[in-house]
Amino acid sequence: MTLLEVRGLSKAFAIRAGGFTRHWARVVDDVSFSLNAGETLGLVGESGCGKTTLARCILRIAEPTAGEIVFDGTDLVKLSRGALRARRSELAIVYQNPYLSLSPRLSVHDLVAEPLVTHTPLRGAALTARVIELLQAVGLSADDLRKRARQLSGGQAQRVAIARALALRPKLIVLDEPTSALDVSVQAQVLNLLVKLQRDYGLTYLFISHNLDVVQHMADRILVMYLGRVAESGPSAAVFSMPRHPYTLALLAATPEPDPTRPAPDIALEGNVPSPLGPPTGCRFHPRCSWAQDRCKAETPALRSMRAGHLSACHFAEALPGG
């Protein structure tokens, strides 16, 4: 069953260039995908590729410029403020740095209780009981109720953020780099917890990360973004075993493996990600692509189906190595 379907989503920011001149930075440009209930979609790409903006649009923290976000049958873009507020409890988000996302002034109890107070009639002892239940679900205990975020370790604080996200029994949780600020040993604890919670509560995850190993561990399906567009998407196994876009190939090659006997990556990507203010013509990846030809500069590649559910936006997807 499809829980979330995003169609043609775009988000442009106006940038003043002096006087009355304005430039539009299309940070998310015509992105479409769907996400099944109970699945995890891994959203991958480098800084500035639009992955966080896309997530913010889905939660309507940012207003999309165009497109539809059909969540459980309703287009969230068309909802009025009041109607959106009523549906908000079905979506939640966990950010990268819990020390920034959790108020330093609130106790753990108040942090987890806040969404319950806003959206439910729970108060008093019943509220505290629910808070303790949530803390236990994320591996904390009633002993932590009176602590502040700064008294917790990074892993514990991120557990509080997860408990807060779980409070209203959401259907979809956006996880925006949830373990990037954590140490390796703690990252493993939090990833294990997220997998367990998904199983126990039937959660659907939109998992944003720049760490391909983490995404591969977590995701059923992958969406690779480059400069606001979808470069490639498909089942995790297919995308990782047979990437069909040169950008995905480069990302995989650049990821350092914890194995010194493996030779250093040979497909090196030169240059930097161009600015979304004046993106390259045609395929946005062509200036950095070692397979680029004249056609890539002129013609924007459409997202084409390779095989079952595996899409690539490359003119020469079939000719890439490994195919």
Partner: protein, 323 residues
């Protein structure tokens, strides 16, 4: 005699709450021209160790050691660091934007450092600045010399930072998480640059990182720190092939890898000890899955059960005694 010799380095901070032992007696020996990786999680003492090599441990930090020499020069109890800092040792940090001066062009910053350390001025200094930029992979030096840091991308800023670090003629480079703030494709470029500079100029590099993938792809030898102690040291190949210390084994097992999906990651349970209370035995005992008799009472010393592969763990102390 090794290029860098550190014996029984201890760094402690006297605070209101008591004495905090950040580094509790570590030994290191770096050979000229090698890339040595210092790995460990937040708070393990890897950064403060590198600061001690430059005399930059902030007050009230107290640095003591049995021996601390760089290229035969004694660094202990030194008041005047001017002929060490910059001239022999240079340092680059995680966030190049925060390390470069935003109010001067890169040309001005480079010429200033060259003038201060090498006494070169005018055209000579500018020619050296240009040559340095070419050396770090910025062939477009005319533009870079005139640019302010904010006009460059993160990868270019880190390259410029490396040029600035080398401008003074230092041949020992301390790189503290040099690629953590960068995207993975840019990270690959910077790591390749560091290896290239070592090959070309015989630079000795101390690379501080929490990323085991970066260590595997870049370092010749590695030291693993835990709670201010060196728990294991070996060549990178040996460390990843046959990790000996339970902590190193735990770190490697906690990494998500291709194929780990659907299985629980082997998280290291518990938290790092605070450092405020002196641990009598092994600092890892509280979290160690193989903890036994002597671990909680006696501190293990670093032994070499295999030549060149040091490990501080009672599992091997017992072996040694038996043989």
């Amino acid at each position: 005699m090794s290029y860098l010799e550190v014996q029984d380095l201890r760094i402690a901070f006297q605070t209101h709450a008591g004495r905090f032992g950040a580094v509790n007696g570590i030994d290191l020996a770096l050979e000229r021209g090698e890339i040595f990786g210092l790995v460990g999680e937040s708070g393990c003492g890897k950064t403060v160790t590198s600061l001690a090599l430059m005399g930059l441990v902030p007050p009230p930090g107290e640095v003591t050691a049995a021996r601390l020499t760089l290229d035969g020069i004694d660094l202990l109890g030194r008041r005047d660091w001017r002929d060490v800092r910059g001239r022999r040792v240079a340092m680059i940090f995680q966030d190049p934007a925060a390390s470069l001066n935003p109010t001067f062009t890169l040309g001005e910053q480079l010429v200033h450092v060259i003038g201060h350390h090498l006494g070169q001025k005018g055209a000579t200094a500018r020619a050296r600045a240009a040559a340095l930029l070419v050396d770090v992979g910025l062939p477009d030096f005319e533009r870079i010399l005139r640019a302010y840091p904010h006009q460059l991308s993160g990868g270019m800023q880190q390259r410029a930072m490396i040029a600035l670090a080398l401008a003074s003629g230092a041949n020992f480079l301390i790189a503290d998480e040099p690629t953590t703030a960068l995207d993975v494709t840019i990270q690959a470029q910077i790591l390749r640059l560091l290896k290239g500079l070592r090959d070309k100029h015989g630079l000795t590099i101390l690379l501080i990182t929490h990323d085991l993938g970066v260590v595997a792809q870049t370092c010749d030898r590695v030291g693993v720190l835990y709670a201010g102690t060196l728990v294991e040291t070996a060549t990178a190949v040996e460390l990843f092939r046959a990790p000996q210390h339970p902590y190193t084994q735990g770190l490697l097992a906690a990494l998500p890898r291709p194929g780990s999906r659907g299985t629980d990651l082997a998280a290291i349970e518990g938290q790092v000890p605070s450092g405020m209370t002196a641990v009598a035995g092994c600092p890892f005992a509280a979290r160690c899955p193989q903890v036994f008799g002597p671990c909680r009472s006696a501190r293990p010393i670093l032994l070499e059960p295999v030549a060149g592969h040091g490990v501080a763990c009672h599992l091997y102390t017992a072996q040694e005694a038996a043989s």
